[in-house]
């Protein structure tokens, strides 16, 4: 009885850690530019595929290929922001949703064309490995992803608070006109921000690749979860993604154990809806409200 409950909570926390890992980039991009990136899941997909191909051709461990995924997605994000999304900044919100939705369609379907719709997975020696403590199972790959989420949040926070570029990003987020007057190159900062968001999202896709199913169509459902996580934690507030992820993970895990798996999805959206209506600033009350 207690074992089931404890196991449910552990599963929830680890699931939440995974959620947090891939939602931080979404929150960063929204916080700085106000862009709701509907192609977010495609960034995860590209990260996972980078690891998959490096594993398939060079037998490179996903944890070692993670830096390649980061660099590749940083460049990808930088270019996409610089040449495409930058053109709609300052226009009504809807433009950025539709534009990124168009990107989602293009990236996902080009990927299908190139790599087919097959489901793929990376099987490493530690893919199914569990640590057993007091009769509880802890899947190691998820634990590592959780660690990565913590590390990413911390490094990103440090970067935003302590470095020159980080300060410029924060200044741009607060008031882009004043930042421009202070000599910040807004377009470049936006491109760097999107690149950073894409890089940490690609990293998460890469470290998740040992235990998720990889396919070109995987993106949309991750985008939806990232939405929920970021709203729960407070949009645009970095550590919020961690809190939102953990809350959502535990809630889903409890619902799946004590009700059924389908209900847990329903509960996700009900929580999201109620949260928005009652407290759009998120659980911690630190999110930005448009």
């Amino acid at each position: 009885m207690y074992t089931v409950f404890a196991q449910t909570i552990i599963n929830g926390l680890l699931l939440g850690g995974v959620y947090a890992a891939y939602s931080a980039g979404f929150s960063l991009i929204f916080g700085v530019m106000g862009v709701v990136n509907l192609a977010h899941g495609e960034l995860i997909m590209l990260g996972a595929f980078t690891s998959y191909w490096l594993f398939a051709y060079f037998n490179l461990d996903p944890y070692l290929s993670a830096p390649f995924a980061m660099v590749f997605l940083f460049l990808f994000g930088y270019v996409v922001q610089k040449y495409i999304i930058n053109r709609v900044i300052g226009q009504p919100h809807i433009m950025s949703y539709i534009l990124t939705f168009g990107l989602h369609l293009m990236i996902a379907n080009i990927a299908i064309k190139m790599w087919t719709q097959d489901f793929r997975s990376i099987t490493t020696s530690y893919s199914g490995a569990n640590a057993a403590i007091w009769g509880l199972n802890i899947p190691l790959a998820r634990l590592v992803t959780f660690m990565v989420a913590l590390l990413v949040t911390w490094v990103l926070w440090f970067f935003l608070m302590r470095t020159e570029t980080g300060r410029a990003i924060r200044a741009t987020a607060q008031d882009k006109e004043v930042a421009r007057l202070m000599g910040v190159d807004i377009r470049n900062i936006y491109a760097i921000t999107f690149g950073l968001g894409a890089a940490i999202t690609g990293l998460s896709g890469s470290v998740m690749s040992p235990f998720v199913i990889i396919s070109p169509e995987m993106g949309l459902e991750y985008t939806i979860i990232a939405f929920c996580v970021v709203v729960l934690g407070g949009m645009g507030y970095m550590p919020g993604a961690l809190v939102g992820g953990l809350v959502l993970g535990v809630a889903q895990s409890l619902a799946a154990t004590y009700l059924n798996a389908g209900v847990s999805v329903a509960i996700t959206f009900i929580i999201l809806f109620i949260m928005l209506v009652i407290c759009p600033k998120g659980i911690l009350g630190k999110g930005s409200v448009a």
């Binding site: 168009g102 293009m106 939405f227 409200v289 448009a290």
Partner: protein, 316 residues
Amino acid sequence: MNFKIDRIILIMFLGITAALAFLPNFVESEYLLRLITVVIFWIGIAGCWNMMSGYTGYIDFGPVVYFGIGSYVVAIAMTKYGIPFFPSLFISGVISGSVAFLVGIPTLRLKGAYFAIATFAFAEAMKQITLEFDRTFSVSFFQGSDGITLPISGHDNSFFFYCVLPVTFLVMLAHYFIEHSKFGYGLKAIKEAETAAEISGVNTTANKLGAYVSSAFFLGLFGAIEAYWITYITPSDVFNIQKTVQMVIMTLLGGMGTFLGPVIGATFLTLISESLGARFVEYYLIMIGGIIIVAILIMPNGIIGSLKIRKKLRFI
């Protein structure tokens, strides 16, 4: 100048609708009649979205929920309670509208991305609830993923043509009313500057709610018609987010907050998907993605919106 164009378009609109009413008598090919019905169907649905989001600037990302509610109400009314189609159709509209009223009161306070996400979350939640309700409470009401089979209508395509045409006509009439009434000016004022509108004495909450509820009412009707037409519905079909996306893209291509925007956008996209979709199945979605990106970048106001700005027209 403006006044004249205004009249010309109204007369053309009434004339075309009247001419369309006789269409099934002349069109021999069942395929063509079906295609025309589908185009009119999508004009109406895109119009419903335009009515709310196009004019007020509140981006509704879950309009499909009212479409789905319409489908399920008609299905349940007909199969479980044996109510004939037309009364059930009316009930669908009323229930969709009532749900929109209850949901609209808390949701319409949200702004920007938050409104969009809340409406999206509501639509997905409803889909999951219809999917899981029966299994969770061990009843047989929505019939979950098994779906509901409606009584086979036995009607031919022209019957559905005559169901869709009047509803789309009403939607377009509502657009005309929005363009020429204080209510509509209120909606446009909300889009431009909501606080200023409120200070100037526009009852913004009532206006938004009015637009939201009427859009939901019509969507309910369309959902009900489609359910009776297809005769088999499942939650993943009728609450499919692709429908929302299609409404948004059609309106955006045509021009948000314009009278002719949904007409042009829906016709264009339906015909494109009919011709390209069949011939280039594999590249179709890539092309649609490309069209969306190019349209947003070079023509953010849509076809009609750009024309309106260039020619300085007030109403089309």
